[in-house]
């Protein structure tokens, strides 16, 4: 039954293979899966065990006993060795005396100091350069700010100057009568007219020259 199901699936896979990524790989279940019961045909089969003679049994027992002891002993040996190495040394030395350890430590400290010194020099140089750069930048910005401010003040001065100049012509209370008289004396006519040729004629009563002439002639 299982095999027929698998065959069906495989057939489907063959059909689909041409145009899809549906791909079946059958690796397991060459035999019956674990959860299925014993096959009907195998139900009453009794596996035959090979007969062992007493000599063979005794010899195999001896060999197995020895093998197990050997393996356990080797494991014990390696375990103890590993533990010893872990306790006594870091890398190549198996054993180190306290003096050697101290010397090793001092050596490490010296190397570390050297590295620190080198790195600190590099860092100082870098910081110095950074400081210089920042200074230049700040100076530049300050200069620019100063220039901008000066320009601004100049502009303001110019405006004030212009305003002061203008203030001379302002109509004050004292000048009011005079201004009214002047205005009355010099009326300004803002009216104008335009003809079809876009000629502009200022003044309320201004006419084109031709018409003007005709009018004058008529008068």
């Amino acid at each position: 039954m299982l095999r027929s199901a698998a065959t069906n699936l495989l057939r489907q896979a063959d059909q689909n293979l041409g145009h899809s990524s549906f791909n079946l790989q059958f690796v397991r279940y060459r035999r019956k899966p674990r959860w299925l019961p014993v096959a009907k045909s195998k139900m009453f089969r009794i596996p035959e065990h090979p007969e062992q003679s007493d000599e063979e049994k005794a010899e195999l027992l001896r060999l197995h006993n020895h093998y197990r002891t050997q393996m356990r002993s080797v494991r014990l040996f390696l375990r103890e060795e590993a533990q010893r190495i872990r306790q006594t040394s870091s890398a190549d030395h198996l054993v180190m005396t306290p003096e050697e350890e101290e010397a090793e430590f001092q050596k490490c400290v010296a190397i570390n100091d050297e590295w620190n010194k080198k790195i600190s020099e590099e860092r100082n140089q870098r910081l110095e350069a950074d400081l210089q750069k920042t200074k230049e930048f700040v100076d530049e910005r300050l200069e620019a700010f100063r220039e901008r401010k000066e320009e601004h003040i100049e502009n303001i001065d110019a405006i004030v100057k212009a305003e002061k100049e203008m203030a001379k012509t302002f109509i004050t209370r004292e000048k009011l009568d005079e201004a009214i008289e002047t205005a009355l004396a010099n009326p300004i006519d803002y009216n104008f007219s335009i003809d079809l040729k876009r000629n502009m004629y200022h003044g309320r009563l201004t006419r084109p020259e031709k018409e003007q002439r005709q009018l004058e002639a008529a008068n």
Binding site: F44, I46, H49, E55, E56, A58, E59, R62, H66, T69, Q70, R72, S73, V74, R75, L76, F77, E80
Partner: protein, 182 residues
């Protein structure tokens, strides 16, 4: 005479569970002798004399707690042993009263194995160790776990061991098997 034909798989067990034996006896069989069929394969005598029987709650069907004086391979243990976890095994046999004396006669005991506390290293490891430590003949400890049931022990200081675990084949028990190979 009827012929008995056994069908099905073989089993190494032969007999009854301990409760089947003990539950049918007067005073639960205290003082009687039971035997495990499995232990009858040894040439030395193994048997158990019942000292005390305790029934257990009904959850543990087939099981019973029996304290016995155990003799295994001719060696009688010092302390009484409690059989509980193996009591369900259908491998026990009751010795009839009239055969007890005959059965319990211990003629020979298992020879105690005295293991050498050290053994040779395997060849390649040996080469490595010699290379590293400059020892001429490095040896390693023999792994041995103390256990009350064991009929073997490690040799003490100055004692002569009767078994040195070899690396390699060693001396065969049955040289006949190696006749044409060695």
């Amino acid at each position: 005479m009827s012929v008995v034909k056994l069908i099905g798989r073989k089993t190494d067990f032969r007999g009854k569970t301990l409760w089947e034996i003990v539950g049918n006896l007067k005073n639960f069989g205290v003082g009687r002798v039971v035997v495990r069929n499995m232990f009858e394969r040894y040439p030395e005598k193994s048997f158990m004399r019942i000292l005390k029987v305790e029934a257990v709650p009904n959850e543990e069907i087939r099981k019973v707690k029996v304290t016995v004086e155990k003799t295994f391979r001719g060696v009688t243990s010092q302390k009484p042993v409690v059989i509980f976890s193996s009591s369900y095994k259908a491998d026990f046999k009751l010795i009839p009263k009239d055969e007890e004396a005959e059965y319990c006669k211990v003629s020979n005991t298992k020879k105690q194995v005295i293991l050498s506390p050290e053994m040779d290293l395997p060849p390649l490891l040996r080469e490595f160790v010699i290379d590293e430590t400059k020892q001429t003949n490095p040896r390693m400890k023999v792994h041995f776990k103390e256990n009350l049931n064991k009929l073997s022990r490690l040799a003490k200081e100055g004692e002569k061991p009767n078994l040195e675990v070899p690396i390699g084949l060693g001396t065969p028990v049955s040289p006949k098997l190696y006749e044409n190979c060695l």
